[in-house]
């Protein structure tokens, strides 16, 4: 019964979304606002019905039968609702409608909001139609099975339960950025006010995407037993491309908002980010990249997504081609200026996104001409590391640059200290881990970003002393925290990648292995029983400087799914993680097991840095809410007379 209500609500949401798009695109006002709320509430109702079906284990629902089991813990019963194709598509619709409702509640009423809600309604209607007609989560089974098939045990993990919602808040968040860009193009108004009202949505989507990607990387690190956190897998790249374009967008929006410049380019990025999100959904959902037969089994889904991409992208880019030439160019600026620096940032990030796109889809084309090839980590490292490295060298200069025209000379004494610090940090890191010369540039650049961000912060507060720091706007803090996070990430990623130590030992009870000053004594295994699995647990005593600690990696078997998983044991230390995974039993020697022991230096810097980047994004978002006064930018005003709203410390020397 509940499922039928859910199904009905999904249809009601579809009808409401259609009405929302019709009214939003033609007239607007209070009706479209109400319809946006109705679309959102009905979608949430449908999703609630699905969650209730999952929690109450209604196995007559095909989706529940296929993805849940009576032995599953409660958290994963709920998470099971989106741990599959149909349920996650419903989540996609709910979030899309939710962004529409959030805009209806917070944006001031005018044509831009009405058109944006109209476009958002159209996107939501298309997604809901795809849901109810091509992948309905409310399909019944007759007769109902007695128990379900369970959720893939690898996915029964808190980080992964939260990973899809955050990822979708990011991916789908770009849908509203797309809508507001389309609305701006329809009205021919991509100006400072448009940028000011678009920026919170772009920042929110991009920050959520950062969190979602980080959660996935953290999960891969401890759940898969490989100790890697990024594999340049097509599915990962599918989320990384919108992230790169989103990063370019949140920077170019600054130029459009503060100076009225780069407006056509900003609108282009705003449209592109969501198109890449749909492309990502297509690459992941159609199965075209992981297994071509899955595509053949259900060509409908892949083709529908491709059609959706073509319609959204084609429509928006046609609109763009029609309107962009009429958009006003902003005031002039020197190559050496903050605008110039942000242009450079955008060029680098766009080329990086193009390189990732190329490496991700080239195997697809290879496949089409009959050459099966794979493009892996080396390609992405060789192309992205130099691109990003050069961009990051410029970053501290960019942060110190003034609008319109900047002088390099006054920055040099300030940044000399930062440069010295970064070289020192690189030397220290290389002294500690002499594994690879790549640590030197990696740590130097990471430390250079951090020192540069802090130099910039101290310049902003210096006239009034550190008490002034409290008065700085949230967006300055957001920028500083995000850039410090980026620096920490670069240092961590360089050290972790270059100095990771990883070795597999065969150990009989009582035998020991050594790694980086630690002794690992294997004390044998024991069998234990968990909530819905059996496990073999090893006892490993780690000794360092006479201090003993016990680590207990497990090998689990989930009878419902019939699959084994590896549950690693991780010991956090100041310098990084000690990571132990239990392999398989050695048949030839009774009692001996293969044990994989790894040391991941500075791994927390990688994840911590990524989380700080997201945090910085959210903080910048907070500052928008504080000053909700429309910026009236007189068209054609001389550039110098446009006040710098945000950075009060941006005083001319």
């Amino acid at each position: 019964m509940i499922a039928e209500i859910g199904h009905l609500l999904a249809f009601l949401a579809l009808a409401s979304a259609l009405a929302q798009s019709l009214i939003g695109l033609t007239s607007g006002g209070e009706p479209v606002r109400r319809l946006a709320l109705v679309t959102s509430l009905t979608s949430i109702g449908a999703f609630g019905a699905l969650i209730v079906s999952f929690v109450t284990l209604d196995f007559s629902l095909a989706l529940v039968a296929g993805n849940s089991h009576s032995l599953k813990p409660m958290l994963y019963r709920v998470a099971g609702a989106w741990g599959n194709h149909e349920g996650s598509m419903l989540l996609w619709c709910v979030i899309m409608a939710g962004y529409g409702a959030a805009a209806a509640l917070t944006m001031r009423t005018d044509a831009l909001r009405d058109r944006a809600l109209g476009v958002q309604g159209l996107l939501t209607a298309a997604s809901l139609a795809y849901l109810v007609f091509a992948s309905s989560p409310f399909t019944r089974l007759d007769p109902a099975p007695l128990d379900g098939g369970g959720l893939n045990p690898l996915l029964q993990d808190p980080a992964l339960a939260l990973h899809p919602p955050f990822l979708y808040l990011g991916y789908v968040g770009f849908s509203f950025v797309f809508s507001i860009a389309a609305a701006g193009l329809i009205l021919g108004r991509i100006d400072r006010d448009w940028a000011r009202r678009t920026r919170p949505w772009a920042l929110a989507a991009w920050s959520f995407l950062s969190v979602g990607i980080s959660l996935g990387a953290i999960w891969a690190y401890y759940e898969l037993g490989w100790g890697g956190w990024w594999f340049w897998d097509p599915v990962e790249n599918a989320s990384f491309m919108p992230w790169l374009v989103g990063a370019a967008l949140v920077h170019s929006l600054i130029v459009t908002q503060k100076r009225g410049g780069m407006s056509a380019w900003t609108a282009f990025l705003a449209v592109l980010a969501f198109c890449l999100s749909i492309l990502g959904a297509f690459l992941v959902r159609s199965g075209v990249l992981t297994s071509v037969h899955a595509f053949a089994v259900d060509p409908e889904r892949g083709l529908l997504l491709l059609a959706g991409l073509a319609a959204a992208g084609g429509g928006a880019f046609s609109l763009y081609a029609w309107r962009a030439p009429r958009l006003l160019a902003g005031p002039e600026f020197d190559p050496v200026s903050r605008e110039g620096a942000l242009v450079l940032n955008n060029l680098f990030l766009s080329v990086a996104a193009a390189l990732v796109l190329f490496g991700t889809v080239l195997p697809l084309f290879g496949q089409a001409v009959g050459a099966s090839m794979s493009i892996g980590e080396p390609y992405f490292q060789l192309t992205l590391a130099p691109m990003m490295g050069i961009l990051f060298l410029f970053l501290p200069f960019a942060q110190g640059a003034t609008w319109r025209r900047a002088e390099i000379a006054p920055m040099l004494p300030r940044l000399a200290a930062a440069a010295g610090l970064s070289l020192l940090a690189a030397g220290i890191a290389f002294g500690v881990y002499r594994e690879s010369p790549w640590i030197l540039p990696g740590v130097a650049i990471g430390a250079w970003i951090i020192a540069g961000a802090l130099t910039d912060l101290s310049r902003r507060v210096s006239p009034g002393g550190w008490m002034r720091a409290l008065g700085l706007s949230a967006s300055v803090w957001g920028m500083t925290i995000a850039h410090v996070g980026l620096g920490l990430f670069v240092v961590g990623a360089a050290v972790e990648t270059a100095a990771r130590r990883d070795q597999t030992f065969v150990l009989s009870p009582g035998e020991s292995a050594e790694m980086r000053g630690r002794t690992f004594r294997f004390d044998g295994v024991r069998e234990i029983e968990g909530a819905n699995y059996y496990a073999t647990e090893a006892r490993i005593v780690v000794t360092r400087d006479g201090v003993e600690e016990v680590m207990t990696p497990q090998k689990r078997f989930y009878p419902v799914a019939g699959t084994p998983t590896t549950e690693v044991a991780i010991r956090k230390t100041l310098g990084g993680d000690v990571y132990v995974a239990l392999g398989d039993q050695v048949r030839e020697t009774p009692g001996a097991w293969r044990v994989r022991i790894s040391h991941h230096p500075l791994i927390d810097w990688v994840f911590g840095g990524a989380i700080l980047i997201a945090l910085g994004g959210f903080l910048s978002l907070a500052s928008r809410r504080r000053r909700d006064v429309p910026v009236s930018a007189p068209e054609g005003a001389p550039a110098s007379s446009v006040p710098d709203v945000q950075s009060g410390a941006e005083a001319p020397a």
């Binding site: 259900d298 060029l347 090839m373 060789l382 293969r594």
Partner: protein
């Protein structure tokens, strides 16, 4: 006049960057792209040249798995008509077993044996490495994988 010079340096910078991006991609591709071969391809195309990187996929031949010192293991990958020798030193994926469809990635040594750096096995019931599936021309009977649920063991989700 100034408008024009601004446009010029913008286009110049963009052009330079795009050109270096293309050059980077081309050099990186040349060194790192790994083609997929079935064991029969290796024989027919004489592809097992020392030092070449490749992916070889098929079924783990029954009775071919030999454990060596420590974590070292050797086995053969078969597609029914030919078999390829593979050596690997590391933890095999949880689902590695004889008769299982796998893909080994690595470089060939002087004797034509693939020294694998990575071994991918199917991750759950829904996934069989695409190339193995094609090479074997078998029906895997798998449903469309839902997002992160079905992916190769060596290539996890975000």
């Amino acid at each position: 006049m100034r408008k024009r010079s601004q446009r010029l340096w913008l286009i110049g910078a963009a052009g330079l960057l795009v050109a270096s991006g293309v050059a980077l991609a081309a050099t990186a591709l040349k060194d790192t792209v790994a083609y997929f071969y079935s064991p029969s391809d290796l024989v027919e195309k004489n592809a097992a040249q020392a030092g070449r990187s490749a992916r070889v996929g098929g079924l783990v031949e029954a009775g071919s798995v030999r454990r060596g010192e420590g974590a070292a293991v050797e086995f053969r990958i078969t597609d029914g008509s030919h078999a390829a020798e593979v050596s690997f030193d590391g933890l095999l994926p949880d689902l590695f077993e004889e008769g299982q469809g796998i893909v080994a990635e690595g470089r060939f040594d002087g004797s034509g044996r693939l020294v694998a750096e990575r071994v991918l096995a199917k991750h759950d019931e829904n996934y069989m490495p695409r190339e193995v599936y094609e090479a074997l021309k078998e029906k895997a009977g798998a449903a469309a994988p839902a997002s992160y649920e079905a992916r190769p063991a060596g290539a996890p989700a975000t």
